[in-house]
């Protein structure tokens, strides 16, 4: 057991002792965590270093400035192996592995080395498996069927609602929702999963597990950590540097059996996840959107390329080979009246302003406002910041 449980008493040296002995009795995970915290230590380089030497020995070599002395490591450190070795040497002087280890133990963060018994089996067989995984929460959250729900941070209400419903319905059916805890779709999917109180959610984040990013998601972060599992490749204190997110996306792809893209613009970050998923033969599904919505451009493109559509949780369950689908509840809303139906038709499935609705139907603002008020009371439409949207 490499986590804090049970062993922390004898494993955690006091700070004085750490400074004096430089930690002779530290477990291999401590050295690996210290290595992972060095600058310019991406997953490829960390894996090359830890494949070449045992963790403790690796630390000694790197701290001595000989980090790129072997061809396998030097290859991972192109184009400037000497410069990177020097960078590591300088940075390693300021790092006390015993303190790093103590910090992880105190924060309740488990450190899994590739090859250790706790290391997730799905990642073990991956071609780009992380050499070290940091996690917080219940490791059992990974045991079961898993689907990733991903998408843009700049989503529409439609996307947010679909992500929420997919998360809720899949979690109810016992599927673990894997996502990235970002704003927009990711957050909505996790909120949905939490609301179902079904299968535990799994979040793969780009920063250290103590650096909440985005800050707006602090409470969601805590809830996911409490109900499920938080996973990161970065040690505690790692900032959310931009390069960590594409790297994080490959872990999402590796951990999921099916990747569902809800909304994404043509050049969104979801592309990285989808490419990583396709490289790993994971099934990619896309939620169809309006052909006029820029944030559905990529998902509609995926559908055109032959991806399966994910219209609801049932589609995803079928893709996972699970047939037990919750039956859709009947629509209890009162049917729109004769005055309201034309306004609902004019609204269609894209957001529109009050102004546009009056113009489309050629009706007076007074009439349209009455119809909208009735539709809103009936739960057919919602208004946000002056924009009206139809509710499924």
């Amino acid at each position: 057991m490499s986590g804090p449980g049970g062993r922390s008493d004898e494993q955690v040296p006091t700070e004085d002792a750490a400074a004096a002995t430089a930690g002779d009795d530290l477990p291999p995970e401590a050295w690996a965590a210290a290595l992972a915290g060095l600058p310019a230590m991406g997953p490829g380089r960390l894996r090359a270093v830890l494949d070449t030497w045992a963790p403790e020995e690796a630390w000694a070599v790197v701290a001595a400035g000989a980090g790129c002395s072997r061809p396998s490591v030097a290859l991972a450190c192109r184009p400037d192996p000497a410069g990177i070795a020097a960078l590591w040497r300088v940075a390693a002087r300021r790092v006390v592995p015993a303190q790093v280890w103590a910090r992880h133990c105190q924060a309740g963060v488990a450190v899994w080395l590739r090859g250790s018994p706790e290391y997730p089996a799905e990642l073990l067989v991956d071609a780009e498996a992380p050499a070290v995984v940091f996690s917080r929460g219940d490791p059992a959250a990974l045991e079961g069927r898993r689907a990733a729900i991903i998408g843009t941070r700049r989503c529409t209400r439609y996307g947010r609602d679909v992500a929420y419903e997919l998360g809720r319905d899949l979690a109810t059916a016992g599927v673990r929702i894997v996502s990235g805890l970002a704003l927009g779709i990711d957050g909505a999917a996790h909120r949905g999963a939490l609301s179902a109180e079904g299968a535990p959610p799994v979040a793969v984040v780009g920063s250290g597990l103590d650096v909440v990013y985005p800050p707006a998601h602090r409470s969601l972060w805590e809830q996911v950590g409490g109900a499920g599992l938080l996973v990161s490749e970065a040690p505690l204190g790692a900032r959310p540097e931009p390069w960590r997110f594409p790297v994080r996306n490959r872990v999402i792809a590796a951990l999921a059996e099916v990747v569902v893209v809800v909304e994404s613009a043509e050049k969104g970050g979801s592309r990285h996840t989808v490419e990583a998923a396709m490289a790993r033969d994971r099934q990619v599904m896309a939620v169809p959107g309006s052909v006029r919505s820029p944030v559905s451009a990529y998902t509609n493109g995926l559908l055109a390329d032959g991806c399966h559509p994910a219209r609801d949780a049932l589609d995803v369950l079928v893709a996972l080979g699970l047939s037990s689908a919750p039956s859709a509840p009947a629509d209890l809303r009162p049917a729109p009246g004769p005055d309201e139906a034309p306004v609902l038709d004019a609204l269609g499935w894209e957001p529109a302003t009050f102004d546009e609705l009056c113009e489309r139907g050629g009706r007076a603002p007074g009439q349209v406002s009455v119809a909208l008020a009735r539709l809103q009371a009936g739960g057919w439409v919602v208004e946000r910041a002056g924009w009206w949207e139809r509710v499924t």
Binding site: R153, G187, T353, D355, C358, V370, A373, R384, A385, G386
Partner: protein, 503 residues
Amino acid sequence: MIASVPSATLLGVDGTPVSVEVHVSNGLPGFNVVGLPDASCRESRDRVRAALLSSGLSWPLKRVTVNLAPSSVRKGGAGLDLPIAIGLLVASGELEAEAIGGCAFVGELGLDGSIRRVPGVVPLVAALATRVVVVPPGCFAEASAVGRHKVRVAGALAELLAALRGEAPWPDPPAPAPVPAPAAEPDMADVRGQAVGRTAVEVSAAGGHHLLLSGPPGAGKTMLARRVPGLLPPLDGDDALTATRIHSAAAVALPPGGLIVRPPFRAPHHGASAVALIGGGTGHMRPGEISLSHGGVLFMDEMCEFPASVLDALRQPLEEGVVRVCRARASVSFPARFLLVGATNPCPCGEGGPGRACRCPPAARQRYGRRLSGPLLDRFDLRVVVSRPDAASVLAGPAGEPTAAVAARVAAARELAAERGVRCNAELPAPRLDSLAPLSPGAARLLEHRLRSGLLSARGVHRIRRVARTIADLGGAAGPVAEEHVCLALSLRAELAPAEAAA
């Protein structure tokens, strides 16, 4: 010898009567001005001396003391030049004291003896209790706007002296400037399509409800806003005089008739400072843009580009209709009852809106939306998202209803408000809403539903009821406010909160 001449000085937008006392006695020749004069006032001794000499009058080689009473009030401006010169002439025996009985004087002197115009003649004259006031020729229209005095003009000191001595008739007042063709206020007929924008503008003008227009560039926000003053009824007596007083004190050009009758329209640029907007200044307190738009429309284009501190300074005057500016030396109240019309883009790139081609990062959009604080946003009874009109209605659509037709409805609605004892429905006091704007059963149900579901606050309900009352008045519906009026009021008050709540 001693002489005393009535005049006035400006404090904010109000005049304060000043008695200019001149004492001439034997002693070491000298000229002193006492009684808290500011720099421009103290310099008047040089102007007065030169003006007297160039007018062919002698300068007394005696000790001259000028006191500006009451001596506790600070005096500013060059308007006291003329009364000082007249007082000196009386005190030195050049002019009989009886000749100036019942006359007050306001004007700046040139070195050649000419009498020049000064700012703020309207409030200055309004503060004077004499029967006759003598002002520079350029100020005749302004001084006449007050209407209580016999206004005399004189273009030069020598001319004035002759008229006072009875040696020559009083100079004729300047012929009123030819009234230019009524400056065509923009007409509502130019607005094609835009049913919602037109409705919002009409309701705003009729009920005095502050209006915020949000929409992409080219949606016609500015076009709509510029047509609001044309819909407002002309200013009535008191308001016209107050507006004229403010414009005069701020040295803003007045219309040819002297009196401001049409509601003013002010559109400050978003670089304006808080002082420029609210009023103030160190020496001489000048009214700001909000006072200059008293009785009319203050249009703030690109509202989110104004600094947040400047915007929040608007909150108190919006509520109270006056702004109190306090400085170490003085504190003055400026009237500031105006209709605020704001225009803003939904986000920095202007294209915002769900699913639109917005290029702004979410954080930038949130920052932009937060410039308008909640309390300020709450003061807008009408918040409307306008979109670009479609090509067909711009090119081939029928012309809109002209201003004259809309203004007639607005005037009728304002009359109904006057019968309720308020200027406009936005001022209806909350306790009287139940009697003045009763709700039909359907309307009450709708508002109750909104209140229960948390979509509306209690104060929001009051605001909706006032707007609904205006909508009903415009539609000619007497009696209780119906459901359709409340629905339209709700639709015209979009929640323009920062677009993205925490995902």
